[in-house]
Amino acid sequence: MLEKSLFEERKSRSTRYVDPPETELGIPENLIRKTDLKNFPGLSEPEVVRHFTNLSALNYGIDNNFYPLGSCSMKYNPKINEALAELDEFVDIHPYMDEEYAQGALQIMYELERLLSEITGMYEFTLHPSAGAHGELTGLFIAKAYFDDRKERRNLVIVPDSAHGTNPASAAMAGFNVVEVKSDKRGLISPSAIQPYLNEDLALIMLTNPNTLGLFEEDIEEIARLTHNAGGLLYYDGANLNGIIGITRPGDMGFDIVHLNLHKTFSTPHGGGGPGSGPVGVKEYLAPFLPIPRVIHSDNCYMLDYNLPKSIGKIKCFYGNFTVLVKAYCYIRLLGRENLRYIAEMATLNANYLQERLSEILDIPYKRLCKHEFVASLKFLKNRGIRALDIAKALIDKGFHPPTVYFPLIVEEAIMIEPTETESLDTLDRFVEALKEILDTAESDPSLVKESPRSHRVKRVDEAKASRMLRVRW
């Protein structure tokens, strides 16, 4: 037992936060709850605080050490942003308050939309989507509404075989047919790969640039030209913006729709898997289709505008994950125009340095100049019975969070490494040394690697058993 379950038999005097009223209940008997809340604990506040504090100690955060998860941009989350987003004036406000009482909130949203538009070279942004995948869905709904408006029936969405899984999943969810095209020897999408699909059925091509191998799609202008000539739209998955921010802009590359992950590039924390935020930017001709309401500014006043007849409507309640937006706004203001480019420069320098150093000991199938991340293959260890997952777990014993493993799918035994700009040279060198030691052990005593983590508090967790047992509640 690592930390006792909340539900194990123990009783104490629970802390009471309110006094119950001593009145009759005015709700008819047949509507009243019959079942007991049998698993709800009755514990005092100090016990509950200890339980969750002890649980948190079983986690690993960015403040512990290096967190090189590929395509996740696990950078440092500035503490000041957390504090400012939690101001009462941001937390204790209601979406249906009169606009005159929420001018500050609306100003942040309005200005953030403008900042993101400028950073990406897009015309307008919506801040409503709650996550990257939600942004994708929103972008695809917008594309669908646009084609409907033009009385065109286009059903096909192209994604590369290196794409994030959310791309094909979102396209299918929005009712499109999906085709995956192969990356070429360079690890890129070549114009010839999309050639067969350039017809009146083509709706969108979804690309991540830099792609999930960390490589810049060098033919992007030609791909944009071909897509547009065929009447299709180009969609930008912004998960990897960290590698090019301030250097080049998706809008200038020819993308029509862009989503960003504020919890990646703009350092609002990941929260263990959300709340995130996935704003969507569009070119001018797609702006009429954005979700309602829009934040507008006139006569020195910010207002919510619902009058957008071609809008796709709403994609979530209210206006987005507002306090996440506050953090992204703070981050952009803090770093400012001078430092956005510096992010991409140092993120890219870190990734290339790490790639170079690791290329001595790992196989890097697409070895070329990378951007914010790169992918190595651990296929060469297979004959020793060691898999990428084992190396990942061995890194835990060395005090590091493992990189992303088994993605992208086009690299066998992939490990995908994204150091981000907030890591020092010393950290990168320590990571290289740790990997070297692990590979030495893999050579001398592979069973030790396969049994890892060994010194860490939690040993290898049997995930297959979890799915077999399917015990999903106490």
Partner: protein, 446 residues
Amino acid sequence: MDYIPHLPEDIRHMLEALGLDSVDQLFSDIPDNLKLNKEIDIPGSINEIELTRIIREISNLNKTSEDFLWFLGGGCYRHFVPQALNEISHRQEFYTSYTPYQAELSQGTLQTFFEFQTLICDLLQMEVTNDTMYDGATATAEAMFMACSITKKNKVLVGRSLHPEYRMVLNTYARARGINIVEVPFDGDSGRLSLESLDNLLDDSACLIFQTPNFFGVIEDPDLFEPLVHSRDAFLIPVIVEPLSLALIKPPGEYNADIACGDLQSFGLGMRFGGPSAGFLATSMKYIRRLPGRIVGMTEDAEGRVSYAFVLQTREQHIRRASATSNICSNEALCAIKVAIYLSLLGKDGLKDLALLNHHLADLAYKELRSYFDGPFFNEFLISLDSPSSKVRNILKDKNILTLDISRWYPELDRSILVTFTEINRKDDIYTLIEEIKPYVRKISL
């Protein structure tokens, strides 16, 4: 200000290792004509002191609920948040970590998710829940997709008394997939679903989606229509927007709901101008493989100790891609953690007391004012007026009393106003509300 640790000599050293002369050369793979030849046109860098000053200037333009006599609800509720919750959920181990794919480094998040699942299943009396959706509205949209896909039907019944923004979200999602949404009207006296209309509309429907307590605050009696819905092979899908109500009133599992969904904002998440909150989506074990999102299961580590991991990931986008149950990846994990902490702090008795108190405060006002509908309520209800809603709302607003005029979504209810009561309302404030609104309340004799 930035958080980049590189010394100039570090940069030189790293470039040397790469055989490069300058940082610019790192971007030689980007065509020159695509490169920005200028700085991005945004404000310059500032430090923490300046940022704090700027943000405070902006935040001070907002008023908070403390500035008003507050009776505003309608899907976003002003509830008390224990300070212990704020404190624990702000531990960096929780808020800076990624989705817990590496179970050995994530037992904190994973066990908390498991406890969240247990508490939510208990509250709902459902067999399985995932670890949140973006919000109640998107959870409802996913429930609609699940129902259509399992029943292989394309028509969906939605109560008109479902939160208008939820209905708008359903419309957006349905349109893209060619799903046909049909509205079920509410009964003009009780404010509940019109059973007669429901009976007429049910044929060929995949599901009935209804809110309880509904947008007017009225508690539905699902026992009245559950047999009818199931007799036509349709799914019964309750939407719970005020989950605190479930400490008192019948949970979905007690009336054979097939899928239950809704929002958890009331459980310690704060109002936050509408987000982030978290949606929940629960069903029975036979549909677990159709459920979108993350689910945690119990297992053990190599030394046989109880531990936790994600289960059935083959449903998800990162494995199944275009055939996944949903595209959802990031959800509202930290909100799930907060909800688990909240429900643990409140505990069984605390949650019930809180729900009773909410109902009791609403009942104080209800006894003095005329309700528009005669159906039972939990902590909000529509007051019947003899003047236009917008006029009364503005009169109250001038007295610093905030209420919700719902006639912008329901033109037919333009002689009513929605008032909501929670544990934060003081009795004196409620008496003030009663006094101020009484002149505009519709007279019983009419």
